[in-house]
Symmetry: C2
Subunit: 301 residues, 2 copies
């Protein structure tokens, strides 16, 4: 998996930080998560081919997470995209976008699907070759979902020695890969570890923004390889975080610790923090492997 942060600020953009948007690539697929104003420019600057984005995930319909959609869709159509595109979002967003799509785009060049999210319980919203995506309801000022992206269990590779030793046929290999036992010419079951290589552990990514501190989500992101959790405020504004249903850096780190995350990224900073060191330090006091992201931040995991 590879994650690229296109924008990491909260509602009021600064000259250094764009509003929320991220690109995640999994098993050769390119996903866009949130789409604040200017996302299409950020994608270009990062040299990402945005025509490869087939799925867009919108956590909630605050402007700083959606104002870039109409421009991006418009550009895709001007470039004569033909591959269908699916947006996972609140039904209200479709209602607001439809008149704009009709007016601003002459004959949308591709099929645009809207998948309306539910906010009462988690659900698997996408299950395609190589990756499964689930939604996780969050607690914010309007219906909001986080998203968990899981690589699918890969088929194990067969050991070359076993192929020669037992004279495995294609049918045998398919059967073993499918998890079935294999018996040698004497009818003895061959131990599985002699036949297949240990497969790489599957990776996962959880995007949790925007939300109040919500330990209930831990059940749905337990053991995640990489967690992005919003950290709009430092402790100096803990009351404001509570009031606006946002999280502090320490709360983000607490979720990461409870979930046993492999690594934590924080973002969605209030523009009052010119530098993000204080947020990173506070989070690290609870969860040492924390990084405060910036526009253009990239990580492979």
């Amino acid at each position: 998996m590879e994650l690229t942060v296109l924008g990491c600020n909260s509602a009021l953009p600064t000259s250094q930080r764009n509003p929320s948007a991220q690109i995640l690539t999994v098993s050769g697929r390119t996903f866009l998560i949130d789409c604040g104003e200017g996302t299409q420019f950020q994608i270009r600057k990062m040299h990402i081919n945005f025509m490869r984005i087939d799925y867009i995930f919108i956590s909630h319909t605050h402007g700083d997470h959606v104002f870039g959609l109409i421009g991006l869709l418009s550009t895709m159509s001007l470039l004569n995209r033909t591959t269908p595109l699916t947006i996972f979002c609140n039904s209200k967003l479709e209602e607001l976008l439809r008149p704009q799509l009709t007016y601003f785009i002459d004959n949308l060049s591709f099929k645009l699907n809207f998948h309306h999210l539910r906010y009462d319980k988690p659900e698997v919203i996408l299950n395609i070759k190589g990756v499964k995506v689930s939604s996780v309801p969050l607690r914010h000022r309007l219906p909001t979902c986080g998203f968990v992206f899981c690589e699918q269990e890969k088929e194990p590779n067969i050991k070359k020695q076993a192929i020669y030793k037992y004279g495995l046929t294609i049918a045998d290999i398919v059967s073993i890969k499918g998890g079935r036992p294999y018996y040698d010419v004497d009818g003895t079951e061959v131990p599985r570890e002699e036949l297949v290589m240990s497969s790489q552990p599957v990776k996962s990514y959880a995007y949790i923004s925007d939300t109040a501190f919500l330990p209930e989500i831990v059940a749905h992101i337990g053991g995640v390889s990489l967690l992005y959790h919003e950290a709009t405020f430092a402790e100096d504004n803990a009351m404001l975080a509570k009031k606006t249903l946002h999280s502090t850096a320490i709360q983000a780190a607490t979720i990461a610790r409870l979930a046993g995350a492999g690594k934590l990224l924080i973002g969605h900073y209030s523009s009052r923090y010119k530098e993000t060191d204080i947020l990173e330090q506070e989070a690290q006091s609870v969860f040492p492997d924390t990084t405060a992201v910036f526009d253009g931040f990239k990580i492979m995991f």
Copy 2:
């Protein structure tokens, strides 16, 4: 007058060029002309105080001229702007913006007025202290207006020597500034040039985008100090310019020559032109004092 170009590209943005937007300051007023996606970020990067923008002029409702409006208005409200704001635009834009304003902005903090443009003939759309703004209908694929900004004739300054020589009172000075004759103690009219300094010529700026070649506009922009005219294409794509109702660099320069403009700026480039030298050179072959603008271009005139 001072002009700052925030974006100079046409519909398909590049990594170097943002969509259309300009800031014009006249007599201490700050005007925004067109508002493509990302305009609020460009304004911040240029260190312009966007809370001082009281009037926005939208030439037409193609996305690359308007997609930045909702984000800008949203940010102004988040920053608790209270000064009223007026947008000059097509009535359709208000119709498209209203549901977004209602949904995305909790209690817009300022009064937002829409002035609907007419497209059948030029009209004075704003006449305030120091500046008068007129619309000029253009020819494009949907209703489009250019804008002409004229400084108002300034009151002349009184010569210090005259004040001492004739013992002018405040009342005398107001009277002379108002254009009335002044008589000395003998009842002889004092020649005006002895009383007032020659006033600076009034400056004007015309913004002409987007449009097919339209010599009819020359009557409305004659003698303009600075002309910005779209030049989407070079001669290599003259047929495409004709088909899409855009102008070539040579056509832009022809308008500047016919209008007797003081200086020509060209912009709104097709993204096929990575460099704009060819457009500038073609325009200069007809109108030597031409500059191809770029994002961040600034000129005082």
